[in-house]
Structures are given as structure tokens and as C-alpha cells.
Amino acid sequence: MADSVLVIGGGIAGIQAALNLADKGIHTYIVEKLPTIGGHMALLDKTFPTNDCSICILAPKLAECSNHDLIDILAYSEVLSVEGKEGAFKVKIKRKARYIDEEKCTGCEDCARSCPIKVSNEYNLGLNMRKAIYIPFPQSVPRIATIDASVCMHFTKGKCGVCKIKCGAGAVDYDQEDEIVELEVGSIIAASGFEVFDPKEMTEYGYGVYKDVVTSMEFERILCASGPTAGRITRPSDGKTPDRIVFVQCVGSRDPKHGRPYCSSVCCMHATKEAMLVREHDEHVETCILYTDLRAAGKGFFEYAERGKKDYGIKYIRAKPGRIVRDESSGELEVWYEDTATLKVSRMKAGMVVLATALVPSRSTAKLAETLGVELDEYGFFRSPDPLLRPVDTTRPGVFATGYCESPKDIPESVAQAGAAALRASRVVAGVTA
């Protein structure tokens, strides 16, 4: 009987599951495919309904994972195979080469400052650039540089070696190779999270055509003090502060036409929060949320939206726009909608449009499910054989799923459910049988 647990995914659900287990005295591995743990929560500016600073409340958790005696973080790693059964899984993990000696790197970023290669920065959703050698964000855990070999000139052209020269710690190691690690664990928790649906296919909204039509996650980075605009609300096309920002809900969610009839569960509150933050940053910017049903059912959510209306002056209009076009002469976007409460059809001018895009299981989830040998439901979420009484179980005993990859949910629900997954997993390593 192996007495460790493997958590796949280092977002808030995975982190919380790992901490719950390790705090109980159970050794836990966190495998994260990106160079740092933190997941989407690390990209959020604030969180609803308290408008807590996201990184402020997350960073201590990241540090706790990093300092915990019973947690081993395997960032920049992927699960290759899972064999065995409940209580005794053998897991092969690929630790991708960072080309950095993890022991030596001090996280000073001298390397990144001197690196000549700039590529689109995925941590700011492509809104600015990062270097080929980089640390994703200041609170990264582990705070170790990574060389993106797909763009680094040393690897693509055999030239350059500036980072190696600049690194005072001598941590750069171009000869590093991927490493295969084998772990024995009693139980596995999948917490592979979500990603944002690409709204390009909904051509009526002009995403990808008009720069000032952005997704809600992109807008989150624009709002964030550590984002590409340092928290100034400026639009991507010309850097001007928009007079009005229109939020469009249910873009790709509750939309059988685009294959996702489900409600993504967090977008109404997310938009409310973003609109509030806009008003806090700059009260001259008007905000307007176009929604179908305002999903404000969680604890304190309805009151939060009411506050948005009354204290922040956010306009809520029950409508779903049918068409967004850009007036080339003024550079303003025109949003066409029918207000289904007043029955008026209007064209609203907007400096920016924020699309509340559907959240979908992350791309890696399908492959992960195959590796784990478990079933997904028709939309790609993990399927439980008994969703009521055993919500975090999967179709393979000893393998559990939690967080957004189990079903759409917000952060507190993910945290609560991470506890449930930890309970199921600790039961396995404690040797309790069903």
C-alpha cells in the first residue's frame, strides 16, 4: 500500500486538496504542466463577492505548498502513464527540462532582462510579451526561470548564450534533458481546471477581428495592477480609456448551437466584479452588463449584484446582443441588442466589449482522462458513477476529480470540493475499503 497521493493540477483546487492531505500527515505530490503552480486564480485581479485581492490570498497558499514538508511540487511536468490499482498506482511523470539548475536559480531574472527574444506572454493572455527565458509572474512557485526552447535562439538557431553569461549563479544548463520520474501513490486526484472557450467562431461578436473585443480573462489582466497595462483601463487598439465598456454574458455558454448547453456558473458574478473594478479605477467609464438570466445564486451574490447596481452604477440590461461591429471612422464598437425588459432595439456605442466566454475543461483534460483510464461526460468534464453521494469519484477506483474539471463551479465551491477529494483519497491511503 503506497501512502502518498498524487494531485494533478496546481490551481486552487489542486493546491487545496494537497494542503488538506499534507496537513493530515499524508505525503502529496503536485504535478503541474506549467512552470508554476497557481492556476487561473493567480491571473485574477480580485475575487467576488468580497473583492479580495486574488494574489494576496493565494500567494500564502502557494508558499505554504512550497514550504510544506509533505508536499513535493513537480512543476513543468506531465503525467505519462498510470498503472496499477487503487492503493498501489505506479505513475510515470515527465519532468520537462527547464534548462535551469533548480538548486542554483535564485529567481533574480537577470537572464530574462538580457534575453533578446520576445514572444507572446500567455500569462497575460497574449496582451504583452515575455522573454524566451522567463518566470511567469512575480509570485511564481517555484520561483525558477524556464527556457522556452521552442523560441530560444540557442535552441532554434544554435546562436546566443546571453542568459548563461548573465546568470551569476551559473544556473543555466543548455544540456539539461527531460527526466522521467516514477512515483508510487495510493490515490490520484485530478484537478486539471478549465480554459477559456475561443469565441472566434461566434463571428457576430467580432472577437479576433476587432482588437477592443476581449474575453473576460483578458480583461482581468487589463484590470490587474501586475498586468500588461499596470491596471490602467486602456483599450488594446489605441491605448485610450474607453467611455463605456459593455460586458456580454453567455458567450458560448447556455448555447447548444456551439455545443455547450451548460451554464459556466461564474461569469455573471465575474462580470459584475470586473464592472465594479472598472468603476473603482475610473468612475467616468460607464459599464453595462448584457445578460440573459443573472446567475447570482451563491452566498451573498445577489446582494453583490445589487451593490453593483446601486453603489457602482453598473447598468444591467436583460439582453443578448445580436451583432457587434466597429464604426471605422470613430473607432467605437456598436453593440446591437433588444432590451427584453423594455422591448427596445438599440445600438449602444462601446469603447470596449468584454465577452464572458464559456469556460471549458482544459485541453489537457481529455488526454489526462485517457492516461488515467477514466470516463468524461459529453462536454469533457469528469464523470462520477454516483454524482450525488460521491461527487468527486471517477469511473476508476482510487482516482478522484475535483474543481472545475469535475463540473463548472466557483472558487469556494472548488475549495470545498477539494476537501471532499482529499477525504476520498485519504480514505484510500488509510486503507479503508468500501
Binding site: K24, L388, I411, A420, S426
Partner: protein
């Protein structure tokens, strides 16, 4: 761990880090080290290329032994990432890990004054001096261990309570379930079917109850209440009362799963005036009893008393309850006309949205009204529901055979009393209020007490069950460890100086301070098991009895003095 504060005078070692060029490129590190050498109590000072590297750590450990150091100051980066590393290094060298002070001369010096190397060097020196002066006063601290009684109390025997109890019992701990009613099951005991899984509620309860009754680790106290609970994490003394008889139990952790109940909308929507106006729960009972079989049309009204009418909140599950009952009615009698008057349909996620679309597919009608003008129910021999049909922008009327009101969940009676007894807060809505809305949804700020289910707020059964499992998982942390380790830098009240005013008790966010009678007078006593080391109580103390370890007044004032005495 070494527990003793050294009796001998301070012998401080200072280690100044170059961090490659990160500090050394701006600050004149060797000069800073040399400066430190001249400070009072410093017996050793050096600079390292990387103090955090293996050779840097060895340098510290060797110096502790060689120079008989009893306090260590490292001037490098930020304590937020690197303190644990250096603290464990000095512990390996035989010192208490709290005899350590961190000085940040990178993030808050070399990196932010890159163009002013001289001023940065001067600042680094004074920062080191501040650290050294504080270090001279450091004391050895311990993270106090408190033994945890290996048993839990679950208050509430509904589905959430039973799931939580089973989760804990499974791990080999004794659990007491206290249920006010005669039988287990709670609110779910009064309903027919559970959606979206479409399972009979009775089977859910009987499955759980069977498991609970079968577990040798669970003791069920029905028709019982928690009369009293005193103590703190790991060590509660609980009195459970059944009729006139009390039993007493030592409890390590408590889970609050007291649930919620349906609000009776007396005096609203003509409820109570006509037997054909029901709540959803009453409809379920009538359906069970076959009383609605002949009914041809039903109108359901959502958000009754909720979302600003009487209560501010949205009750989250009423939409799914109404749609469930609509589907059940329509399935039994396909010709029945069911209309649901709503404002915003709350069916988030995958499974619920599916139920909603299924209901539409069956021809259940959804009519939207504005919250500002809610429907009116008139019992005039027949029944009339008059409302403003927002989709059409016109007044509308239905003449149903039955009106069903979707009323919100409200907290159970006794929540207030329990909140006072356990010293855990209620929110404005009367539901229990968690430690942190985002990241600690199942904890209370008070350690050792946890929360799940509708006691926390209205929610569906699936979410309640997830929470119950999660709460069990949280409670298992102190239970499995058999002990809790408190903070080291805790507050401490000097009994001799304390005047017993109780100001500190009022400001403590964790209810960690008690005002107790000692020798005929009141004094404050900090429960170091509960203290989270914020220090908020210290400024509240008028007599200076309260101090926070590692952040004592004298330590902080030494640092302030170091700055004020700095030469211009």
C-alpha cells in the same frame, strides 16, 4: 528544537548576501558586512555570493558553532520566501529557529535604488543595524502543541451531517451526531425526489442512515440538543441533552450542519387564505398523498419573499425545486398546464441547466416578471395570478387550479444560540458565517469548528454533500495529527500587569483571549492554541500587559530608534 533562550549575552552573526549581482551590483556588500561587524553584540560578520546556496548555508552553520553564535541575522532577499530555509539551517546548527532575523536588502533596497548605489549602501547598513538591534532582544519561541481528543461532534443529522460523520468515522474516529428531531434526514426527509439525479429522497436517507447505524464509531443522539460546549480546538467539553438527561463528552472537533428550513410566507401572495395556495414543500406532500391528481393547471411563483422582497438573498435552490416539481407533475399528467413565473432562472452548471431545458422541451412555460412588480395572487372563488409579463411588455393573467409559492430557505431556529455557544459568527442573513468566503468556506475563524450544508446558506443537495465531505476533511486535520501546533509569535498577557479591562478580548478576531477570574480579579488569558499571531490585541491594551512574541514593543522600538539615531 532548542527551547531555551540563551542566558549568555547576545552573540550575533551577520551574513550579508550578494545575491550574485542582484544586491552586490548596487550595494557595496563587503562594506555592509564590515559595518555590521562594528555593531553592538555582533561577533561575526561576513558576505556570501549566495547565502541561500549550499555553501552559504554551511557557512552559517559553521559560524554558529565556531563563534558560539546565539542569534543570526541574514541580510538578503525577502523573508516571505526564504525565512524557512535559514531558520531550519540555524536549527540544524543547534539554535532555536526563532533566534533569527531577516533583513531585506534586495527587493526593498538594491532593486529599487539601482541608480543610487551609495544611498542604497547606506540604507542597507541601517536596515542591517535595525535587524541586529532587534535580534539582540530575540527570544527562543516554541510552537506550542496541544493534544487533540480523537472524537468529533456533528451538530445536525440531515444529509450533510450524516455524510460528514461517515467521512470522519471512516478514518477511525469517534463521532457523535446530535439531531434535534426524532429521526435523521433533516429537510430532505420531507421531500420526494432529489434532482438532478432523479433519485428518491427516501433511498438517499435510508442508505446513509443504514451506514451511520452500522458504523461502530458513530453514536447517534436523536431528539437531542447540544446544551453546552466549552473549550477550544482539540479540547471541547460538550453536554448533550436528551429530554431531561445529559451526557458529557470530550470532543476534538465540531462540525456545524444544522441545516435550514423553508420559509412560510404568511400574509404574502394570499398564502394561508386559500387551501389551493401552497409552498413547494406542501406541494410535494400533496403530490405524495395523491391530492393534486385532478389538477389541470398549476402556476408557480419564484423568488417569493426573496431577492429583496423580505430577505435580501437569493435562495439558490428554489428554481431547481420548482422545475423539479413541474417536471414531476407533467410526467404524471402530460396534459397538465404548468407555468413558472420567474425573474432570473438559477440553474447553473451542467446537470441543472439540462433539467431546465428538459422542462422547456416538455412544454412547461416560463413567464418572466420584473422584481419591482411581483405577481399578485387573488383568491376570488377561483384563483387568479396577475402579473406584468415582461417578455411581452404587458399585463397578463393566469387562472390556475393551484398556486405554488417558491419560498426561500431560512436558518433553523437555534442558530443564534449555537453561534453564541461556539463563539462562531452568523452573517446578516442569519446563516453561519465562514472564516473566509473564498478560501476557507468550511472553516470558522475559530480553529476546530467547521461548517457545511445549508447552515452555511441555501444550496442544493449535491453541493451540501461536497461541503460535508470537505468539512469532514478539514476536521480530520487536527484529529489525524492528534495535536495542533500553535503559532510561535503569539500574544501573551502578563497577569501581574493586566487590569482585566477586556479590551483585548473585544478586538481579537479569533476569540483566542478569555477574561477569567484569578485570585479575585479579572485577567486576560491568551489561549496560545487559538492565537494566530496578528498582534491586534497589543495596541488595545492600556496597561502594557499584552505583548506579542517576536514583535515585542521593545524590539520594535529598538528598530525605530535605530532609524531615529541614524546620522543624516
Amino acid at each position: 528544537m532548542s527551547e531555551e533562550t540563551p542566558k549568555s549575552p547576545p552573540r550575533i552573526g551577520v551574513f550579508v548576501c550578494h545575491c550574485g549581482k542582484n544586491i552586490g551590483g548596487v550595494v557595496d556588500v563587503p562594506s555592509v558586512a564590515k559595518f555590521a561587524e562594528g555593531l553592538p553584540n555582533v561577533v561575526f560578520s561576513t558576505d556570501n555570493l549566495y547565502t541561500c546556496a549550499e555553501d552559504g548555508l554551511t557557512c552559517i552553520k559553521d559560524a554558529v558553532v565556531k563563534h558560539n553564535l546565539n542569534r543570526v541575522v541574514v541580510a538578503s532577499c525577502t523573508p516571505r520566501t526564504h525565512a524557512p530555509l535559514f531558520m531550519s539551517a540555524i536549527e540544524e546548527a543547534g539554535l532555536n529557529q526563532y533566534l533569527f532575523e531577516f533583513v531585506n536588502i534586495r527587493d526593498q533596497c538594491s532593486w529599487v535604488h539601482m541608480k543610487e548605489p551609495e544611498k542604497a549602501t547606506k540604507k542597507a547598513m541601517i536596515l542591517v543595524e535595525m535587524g541586529v538591534r532587534k535580534a539582540s532582544l530575540l527570544e527562543a519561541l516554541e510552537e506550542k502543541e496541544i493534544a487533540v481528543e480523537p472524537s468529533a461532534l456533528v451538530i445536525g443529522g440531515g444529509v450533510a451531517g450524516m455524510v460528514a460523520a461517515l467521512g470522519i468515522a471512516d478514518h477511525g474516529f469517534q463521532v457523535h451526531i446530535v439531531e434535534r428531531e426524532e429521526r435523521l434526514g433533516g429537510l430532505i426527509g420531507n421531500i420526494e425526489k432529489v434532482y438532478p439525479v432523479k433519485r428518491a429522497a427516501s433511498s438517499v436517507i435510508s442508505d446513509l442512515e443504514r451506514a451511520v447505524r452500522a458504523s461502530p464509531m458513530i453514536e447517534v443522539h436523536t431528539s437531542s440538543t447540544v446544551k453546552d460546549a466549552k473549550g477550544y480546538v482539540g479540547n471541547y467539553d460538550v453536554e448533550i441533552q436528551n429530554g431531561g438527561a445529559s451526557t458529557f463528552h470530550r470532543i476534538g472537533a465540531i462540525i456545524v450542519a444544522t441545516g435550514a428550513t423553508e420559509f412560510k410566507p404568511e400574509g404574502m401572495y394570499s398564502y394561508g387564505e386559500d387551501g389551493r395556495i401552497l409552498t413547494q414543500l406542501e406541494l410535494e406532500r400533496q403530490m405524495r398523498e395523491g391530492k393534486v391528481d385532478g389538477v389541470k393547471s398549476v402556476a408557480m411563483i419564484q423568488c417569493v419573499a426573496a431577492r429583496g422582497e423580505k430577505f435580501t438573498y437569493c435562495s439558490k435552490m428554489c428554481c431547481s425545486v420548482a422545475i423539479k416539481n413541474a417536471i414531476e407533475l407533467k410526467t404524471k399528467q402530460p396534459a397538465i398546464d404548468v407555468s413558472i413565473l420567474y425573474n432570473d432562472i438559477q440553474m447553473p452548471g451542467e446537470a441543472l441547466e439540462k433539467v431546465y431545458t428538459d422542462a422547456r422541451e416538455m412544454g412547461i412555460k416560463f413567464l418572466r416578471f420584473p422584481l419591482k412588480a411581483r405577481p399578485q395572487v387573488v383568491a376570488d372563488g377561483g384563483l387568479a395570478v396577475r402579473f406584468f409579463n415582461e417578455s411581452l411588455g404587458a399585463d397578463d393573467e393566469l387562472r390556475p387550479d393551484l398556486v405554488v409559492l417558491s419560498a426561500p430557505l431560512v436558518p433553523r431556529e437555534g442558530a443564534k444560540e449555537l453561534s453564541r455557544m461556539l463563539k462562531v459568527p452568523l452573517g446578516q442573513d442569519g446563516f453561519f458565517f465562514e472564516a473566509h468566503v473564498k478560501l476557507r468556506p468550511l472553516d470558522f475563524a475559530t480553529d476546530g469548528v467547521y461548517l457545511c450544508g445549508t447552515a452555511h446558506g441555501p444550496k442544493g443537495l449535491q453541493e451540501s454533500i461536497s461541503q460535508a465531505m470537505g468539512a469532514a476533511s478539514r476536521a480530520l486535520i487536527p484529529l489525524s495529527n492528534g495535536k495542533v501546533r500553535g503559532e510561535a509569535a503569539v500574544a501573551f498577557a502578563d497577569e501581574a500587569t493586566c487590569i482585566g479591562c477586556g479590551n483585548c478580548v473585544k478586538v481579537c478576531p479569533y476569540v483566542a483571549i478569555d477574561r477569567v477570574e484569578r485570585n479575585g480579579r479579572f485577567v486576560a488569558v491568551v489561549n496560545s492554541a487559538l492565537c494566530k499571531a496578528c498582534g491586534t490585541c497589543v495596541p488595545a491594551c492600556p496597561s502594557g500587559a499584552m505583548t506579542q512574541k517576536s514583535f515585542t514593543d521593545s524590539q520594535l522600538l529598538e528598530m525605530v530608534d535605530a532609524v531615529s539615531q541614524e546620522e543624516a
